[in-house]
């Protein structure tokens, strides 16, 4: 499942482009709502879909489900909330729900509750293959089941998917790390949780690149449970055990902890740190050069696009452009980060 770069890039420009033209042409005042063209867009964000300029006749209810308590989740929530605001005056309520961890049973329960509560669409993080049965159940109940970030199994019936492939993201980071390390030396991986599918996809994706090079030696693979403090501790442990470490890859939450540890030990120039998600948490460390490569996956659109698309599908039948909407994402580096993400500075 290689994402086709053209397709996703195309889809994104097309989607935004078309949406805006549609908004301007479709200018008839159908109700008391802000036309798409006039919607306020948060600084630095580019919505890949905009709502059709039409209010729903019957009230529409959309649910979104996301993990809480990590900065990535918060960034997705920004997108979801933007969509919520944008749709509020179009007779559509969006309920942003959250789950505290990656326990599939809890997720399945929430989705089931949503199905029972009569939502018209459910947009959720497809944390695990274990969500496939409940996803299919929602589809069978006639609900739009749009997923983002991770696929709930390879052959679920979900109608649309948005996000970056975990494997792809991992591979990109692996390539970047190999390049930064000059193709040789010791490296270590700090992963979020061995039990979380998305984290494992990235870890194994990176390994598929790095293992192919005999001159690269993996010296440690540890969990940090998405916690910055734990990443700090583990980074210290790894470096005292391997003072000649050259590369470090953090697959999930808490990379700022690793960066802080490197700075505290004065090793930011020796150790090439690669991680995911350009957020408030990581931006300063990218700018300062401690994080040498940071793969972004457009959390804003992961939050906003499925919701907007679902609304468009429900009121106008103009839903997602593609069934699978890959986000290529960008690899921010110390040189490019301020340019790519001005809103964070």
């Amino acid at each position: 499942t290689e994402p086709s770069t053209e397709a996703s890039a195309g889809a994104s420009t097309e989607a935004s482009g078309e949406a805006s033209t549609e908004a301007s042409s479709d200018a008839e005042p159908a109700g008391d709502f802000t036309p798409a063209a006039d919607l306020e867009i948060p600084a630095g964000k580019t919505p890949l879909s905009l709502p059709v300029d039409q209010a729903a006749e019957e009230p529409i209810k959309i649910a979104t489900i996301m993990v809480q308590n990590n900065p990535f989740g918060a960034a997705v929530l920004v997108g979801q909330n933007w969509a919520k605001e944008a749709l509020a005056d179009r007779n559509c309520t969006v309920d942003c729900q959250s789950v505290e961890d990656f326990d599939p049973q809890k997720w399945a329960s929430i989705i089931e509750n949503d199905i029972a509560a009569g939502y018209d669409a459910i947009c959720f993080f497809g944390i695990s293959e274990a969500l496939q049965p409940v996803t299919d159940k929602g589809v069978e109940a006639g609900i739009l089941m749009y997923t983002f970030n991770t696929e709930p199994g390879n052959n679920s019936k979900r109608q649309a998917y948005y996000g970056q492939s975990g494997t792809y993201g991992g591979e990109e980071c692996g390539k970047k790390l190999e390049e930064l390390m000059g193709g040789e030396g010791k490296y270590a991986i700090i992963t979020g949780d061995f039990t979380v599918l998305g984290h494992e996809e990235r870890r194994l994706g990176a390994r598929s690149i790095l293992d192919a090079n005999d001159k690269l030696e993996l010296v440690a693979e540890v969990e940090n449970n998405d916690k910055a403090e734990e990443a700090y501790t583990q980074t210290q442990n790894i470096l005292t055990a391997n003072p000649d470490l050259k590369g470090l890859y953090v697959t999930a939450g808490g990379p700022s902890g690793a960066a802080k540890a490197l700075e505290d030990m004065g090793l930011q120039d020796q150790v090439m740190l690669v991680c995911h998600d350009v957020l408030e948490e990581t931006a300063p460390y990218i700018a300062s050069g401690t994080i040498k490569g940071c793969m972004d996956q457009d959390p804003f659109n992961q939050g906003a696009q499925p919701v907007i698309d679902a609304f468009n599908q429900l009121v106008a039948g103009e839903g997602p452009k593609e069934e699978v909407n890959w986000y290529e994402g960008v690899m921010a580096t110390p040189d490019t980060v301020k340019e790519l993400f001005p809103e964070l500075f």
Partner: protein
């Protein structure tokens, strides 16, 4: 020591109604009914539907099943923190062999492997508590970590697919409008209740919880009883593993994560005293139901996730507080 007097005495004095109300599980039952009524008023269209009711019951079923065993453990003054990771380990264990044999293994063998692994973990917990004499908190904390590791080693970190019909029916099937999971739960709760109240072993569990030295003097094999309650909980974790695999059609190493605290909360909210020796096994269902209805309610009312966490904590405290205050007052 501090919290155990007087309630019954107070009950004796007044009528049957008051007597009933003095039972610790009653606070939870009243709260449950109140929430139910409130929800029926607030969301008349989506809440009191057959589907939604069964969704709620199915969701708290696992919690209720585990709370039956946890109740018995708490009655012996023990605790089991490992229950969540035992689910993960057992689910992984059975499905691993299924996959390793290219799904040629008969369903019954997979079933036995899953239940067997759960029971084996229970036995390990039980022996650590009874024979080695470890504090239950520590024994099961250690086994929690071991179980998690075993699940990871077996699955290599990613879910194992397993989707034959029998297990799908078991975990996700319906008989009429009633989910099979709910039927399994009902059967286990009823057996658990009869076991605790009408068999000698059941009563011996209470006797051990009242006073282990006294039970020993009465000729009860205390070590055996202590081992047994953990074995039961291990077996029930195996049952839950089966239900989860059936429902999700896969075994995920993150199954069961964090269950232990919910299960303990359900048991205690349901009136099982943490000082041991007393409590009604039927009460745990009320405890589990209360926690289940809350989660459904949060969704129905679209309560923000952050607030859910706060409210859940307050409800746990509130549900037990009323009874505690009453006991505390009686002890003055």
């Amino acid at each position: 020591m501090r919290n155990q007097t007087g309630t019954e005495l107070a009950a004796r004095k007044s009528g049957t109604f008051k007597k009933l109300m003095a039972k610790p599980e009653m606070t939870a039952l009243v709260a449950l009914i109140a929430l139910f009524v409130i929800m029926c008023i607030l969301r008349p269209a989506t809440f009191p539907t057959t589907t939604n009711i069964f969704v709620i019951i199915r969701q708290f079923s696992l919690n209720a099943i585990l709370a039956v065993g946890m109740g018995l453990i708490i009655i012996t003054t023990g605790i089991d923190l490992s229950v969540g990771s035992v689910i993960a380990a057992s689910a992984a264990f059975g499905t691993y062999f299924a996959r390793a044999t290219d799904y040629a293994l008969p369903g019954i063998v997979v079933l036995l492997l899953i239940l067997g692994m759960g029971t084996a973990f229970g036995l390990a917990n039980g022996l650590l508590v009874s024979k080695v004499g470890l504090p239950p908190f520590i024994a099961t904390l250690g086994m929690m970590s071991v179980g998690q590791g075993v699940a990871l080693l077996i699955t290599n970190g990613s879910p194992i697919r397993y989707e034959p019909t029998w297990i799908s029916v078991f975990g996700g099937g319906y008989i009429g409008p009633v989910p099979v999971t709910v039927i399994v739960m009902a059967v286990i709760v009823v057996i658990g209740f009869i076991f605790a109240n009408n068999t000698m072993t059941g009563r011996n569990i209470y006797a051990v919880g009242n006073s282990a030295p006294a039970a020993k003097l009465s000729g009860i094999n205390v070590d055996k009883i202590l081992t047994l309650v953990y074995v039961i909980e291990g077996f029930l974790a195996g049952v839950c593993a089966l239900l989860l695999v059936g429902q999700m059609n896969s075994a995920d190493p993150s199954f069961g994560k964090g269950y232990e605290l919910d299960v303990i909360a359900a048991a205690v909210i349901g009136g099982i005293s943490m000082t041991g020796g007393e409590g009604n096994i039927l009460g745990v269902v009320v405890g589990a139901a209360l926690m289940g209805i809350l989660k459904n309610m949060f969704t129905q009312l679209a309560v923000s996730g952050y607030w859910q966490t706060v409210i859940l904590g307050l409800i746990i405290i509130g549900a037990v507080a009323l009874d505690s205050v009453r006991k505390k007052r009686a002890a003055r």
